[in-house]
Symmetry: D2
Subunit: 355 residues, 4 copies
């Protein structure tokens, strides 16, 4: 029988952190082993040993055994004392850049939800404005990172010390594209368009002009055109180059969910069945991908699940396809995929605690 493991979450105050807490608190393998919650704690709360989790997220207050859980001040000693083995970071990428090398040194396995370690070192530095120096330590840490998409890297994740949990947009697009690219079906020279739309939780918990209800409601807007940071993941993981794909994100007036509409040209005419066959083959052992056969996925069916839903339609020539890919940006696009990675790392069934 598998022994229980001790997890910790840094960054439980955000949306992804809250979902992660909920998932781990209900995970069948972690019963009676709630995560340690560590982070910044105000002086006034220190006196009480931390902030009650139920105060940060009222909806978490009644989960089995959660009544007395607290956010405690982060320290490496805290993690050691509690016997933490797996550390989840739902922190800004700057913080992950700083903490991950130390965590690895201390023998922790890390699942990092930030963008800090998703790309090769060179690509990473080109995209993000990392504050840390390009030291050898950084490079060697990066080289240990596995891109945490079990559908692509299941085996490496199983033995990884550092899992770089994918971005939400990237997940929805890579899963839709990779099988077709890998099978050599797509005429890359004619270009791929990935038109993606995400709910407001993707914009984070900070109250800004863009997350104001009056801005987001009854609206739709494109942003970061030709400039979104997830593009790097698309390029490396889907196996396309920057001149072969255009990715445009949009802000949808809904709380959660992503729908990506992806346009490809095939080298040779395909049938619906020939394409379906490629997808089925690729995702044969992937319990968290649902392939739509007759209809197209919609946001409403994937929200609040950990599934990536994929469907497509060909034109009459069989040379063009529109692929629709849906997922919940906080689950398969963040916290759910993190737990899926945990399952893979522990050798548990991949979808455990996620259905």
């Amino acid at each position: 029988m598998t022994k229980n493991i001790q997890t910790a979450i840094v960054g439980v105050t955000g949306y992804a952190g809250a979902e992660l807490a909920r998932l781990l608190l209900h995970h069948p393998r972690l019963k009676n082993h709630p995560p340690v919650f560590a982070g910044r704690v105000d002086t006034k709360d220190l006196a009480h040993g931390g902030v009650p989790l139920a105060e940060i997220h009222p909806q978490l207050g009644d989960n089995a055994g959660a009544a007395n859980l607290k956010l405690e001040p982060f320290s490496w000693e805290l993690l050691t004392t509690r016997g933490v083995e797996v550390l989840f970071l739902a922190t800004p990428h700057e913080q992950s850049r700083e903490w991950v090398p130390e965590a690895l040194k201390r023998g922790l396995r890390v699942i990092d939800l930030s963008a800090a370690w998703r790309l090769t070192e060179a690509a990473n530095r080109a995209v993000y404005d990392f504050a840390d120096e390009a030291t050898e330590l950084a490079a060697s840490t990066q080289s240990q990172a596995v891109y945490g998409m079990p559908e692509l890297h299941r085996k490496q994740i199983a033995s990884a010390q550092l899992v770089a949990n994918p971005g939400c947009y990237a997940t929805s697009i890579i899963l839709a594209l990779k099988p077709l690219v890998a099978a050599g079906l797509i005429d890359l020279d004619r270009g791929i368009v990935a038109d993606a739309k995400s709910g407001v939780s993707g914009a984070g918990k900070a109250a800004t002009a863009r997350t104001h209800f009056m801005y987001a409601a009854d609206n739709l807007s494109a942003y970061s055109v030709f400039a979104h940071r997830h593009t790097g993941e698309l390029l490396e993981q889907a196996g396309v180059s920057g001149c072969q794909i255009v990715f445009t994100p949009h802000l949808l007036p809904i709380p959660r969910g992503i729908l990506s509409t992806i346009y490809v040209h095939f080298k040779m005419a395909q049938t619906h069945e020939s394409v379906a066959q490629v997808y089925r083959e690729f995702f044969r052992d992937s319990p968290m991908v649902r392939l739509y056969d007759k209809s197209l996925p919609q946001i409403q069916y994937s929200v609040r699940t950990n599934y990536a839903d994929i469907g497509f339609q060909l034109d009459s020539s069989g040379k063009r396809a529109v692929i629709v890919s849906c997922l919940d940006n906080l689950l398969k696009g963040a916290a759910g995929q993190a737990v899926q990675n945990l399952n893979v790392m522990q050798g548990w069934p991949e979808s455990e605690g996620l259905e």
Copy 2:
């Protein structure tokens, strides 16, 4: 023929200010006489003589003659130079407390959208935490203020130097209650309940935890129970006392609109017609109130109009009534009513520029 007048708006950056700008720019009596827009202007914008209005509110950019309008740095000299006669303040109440006495001294007529001068001096100081001293000047300024609800104070507004534009919740409730209170129909001892619901624009433009899309969307919450500042206006203007009415505001997941559901007991049994008659009589000369006879108002029908919509239903005993009152919080609840007051002050038709 009426001569054109020169207006100015301070506070055009907020939601009510933007609506006010739109209304004045389209007002038939103010053609070719756009308001002066005055406020705080950054140093870098000073070089260009101010901030283009179209940059602050893109939707205002194409109004007739508005292409070159700018937000200019506020100064009394600016107002004088431009010949401003009527000053609209869509500013925080602290600022209105400070500026109104000076404006009156300079001979300007003021329509103040803030809460600074709506109550009698005593009530005002009890409710708001005014920074200014309780000087004689403050008291004398207050004594000149007319509560800007034309349906109640048309005559005084016509000659007022200072009009205190009512609060949005207050407008929706006072208009529904005042006719019945004035006619002596209501049994005040049994208590009145005013359960009011407002769209998010009522919470202002500041990005806060409460105006975040993720908080407001798919939600409803009560707030300021037994403690909302508009209560003072209800008491003074509807003619009831604090122990006779309970007013509870709620935050609705919509951009704009208020619906107040008001519960009263009558002293004696009424018929639908006897109550309707009281309303018709009271609002005989009020073009901006619409009385619903067979159905009840809904937010969708009053939004983007300056109407206050009122309907009601009696129970079978004829001794209890539910009154439903709807309006657009930014129009009849703020900017629209301000223009209605301008019309009254200028002797123009009360609904001009508002239909």
Copy 3:
């Protein structure tokens, strides 16, 4: 060890039916014992033995063991053959009136989500326009019905043959009022106001003018003023009379959730603690009620849970209170409460499968 039981659902196509299916499919005591789904099945689907559940509700398609579930044509023989012991009816009340007597005769225990058997026979016939004759059978069936609110009737539910599952509005109001009425705190002569707001799923799955997105979105409307059918439940179960309470429902522009704002006068001045004490006492053994102490419930925190959330605030005199009660209309207001009743009937922990 408890033996597994066999359940059946009639009416799985509606919103409450879908939630009920989801809950029973995940219920820890019903693992590997999915419900029988019975209803009307088209001739063309008959050939395949019914309609796949995943076609009716795509979101149910991936639940453990649900892949091959079907909606089968209803017949009493079907229920007998499958050994059904507990029958859930999520049907129109006319159908429940017809089927329940037969089901009881056949020895089934019935949990009826419709309004067919919630009231005493006399009240029932006054409110609903039942097609069935006022026979002795109807009267005797009615007399066996227990109002399915465990917080009030736990003991009778445990041994009931027929449980009449409460209405959603009624649940939110009765739970808030009953403790205070039972404790004799409320001055009923001064009247109670229950101003309730519900999401659109409460209006049912039928596509009508009122459920059209263009009508419901960005809107709020009151309806059935002095005339809502749930009033009967309020009167009988909360222990008040029709002249003592006014209940007004409103249609909120959100998918699900109810918030009721309830206004009461106390006979004598109370403190926050004295009222809190009454609630705590009343709900001491009720795991599905959450009492809010410092803040007020909001729809966002109760949606997608089976909790009824209750909070309140007193005015400075201690003689008036505003009570806020929130729940998910499809869970604690329908399917969740039905499962809670099942738990009570089976002697299982009341909140099992509901957290």
Copy 4:
């Protein structure tokens, strides 16, 4: 001075019809000349000479002179008696196919909002399943039709007897593409993608499963992939062929507004300024198109206006562009454009009554 003209609207009950009525009732050239409203009238309403407009659309009830307007039973005699000169049809396309030939025979000028006459006869019959025979009359009627997009066909519209008012999606895409296609900038062989998103009013007033609040809210779905009827208009009017463009519509959870994200490849590298110059040139005399220079259009800024808003961004190579085009589907996408066409036909300023 221009003389007043008499208009008539058939189909005022729908969303576009209501907007059309509102615009015509406020049009400065039509003061005191409200349209005749003709359509199907129930027998019971016939007795009163028709249905009051305010009953069909409460929000129209208070427009100047609209209090007594009625929907009258359609007959050609009615139009003759009232001296109707311009007939607006906001009817299903089958009805427009039937009525337009007769209307032209009677000397009326027609602005048809349906899809009945937008395409060349051959294309039209391929796309729509017209019930009328392919008679000579149909062909000759078609040959008189002018596609009602003033930005493209101003001159022909001015003298047209029959104006085929464009589709909403088509308008948003054609206006964005046509200038670049006409200037020969686009590499058509590499394909164009038009990913379009529309609010629910675009799906019409009928209550269906798709327009149910519970389906549309918090959701996004693609539909009619490779099969939307507006594609024909795109091909003919934008000057591209079916193998050069893919158009995918999506249903947005908002009441109104369209945003189209359009992806093109240029034959040769362009600069932002070179592309901007092409647009400026093309729309030099088009008052209802707003070009965005530094930012991209959003739905919130075009909704409730008759503007088509266009902005774009180039990638670093200057060979690819993302164009964003926004409009209000009921205004520039339907009723507003119809009034714009009326203005052109009458020789009035093109934007009159539309700002």
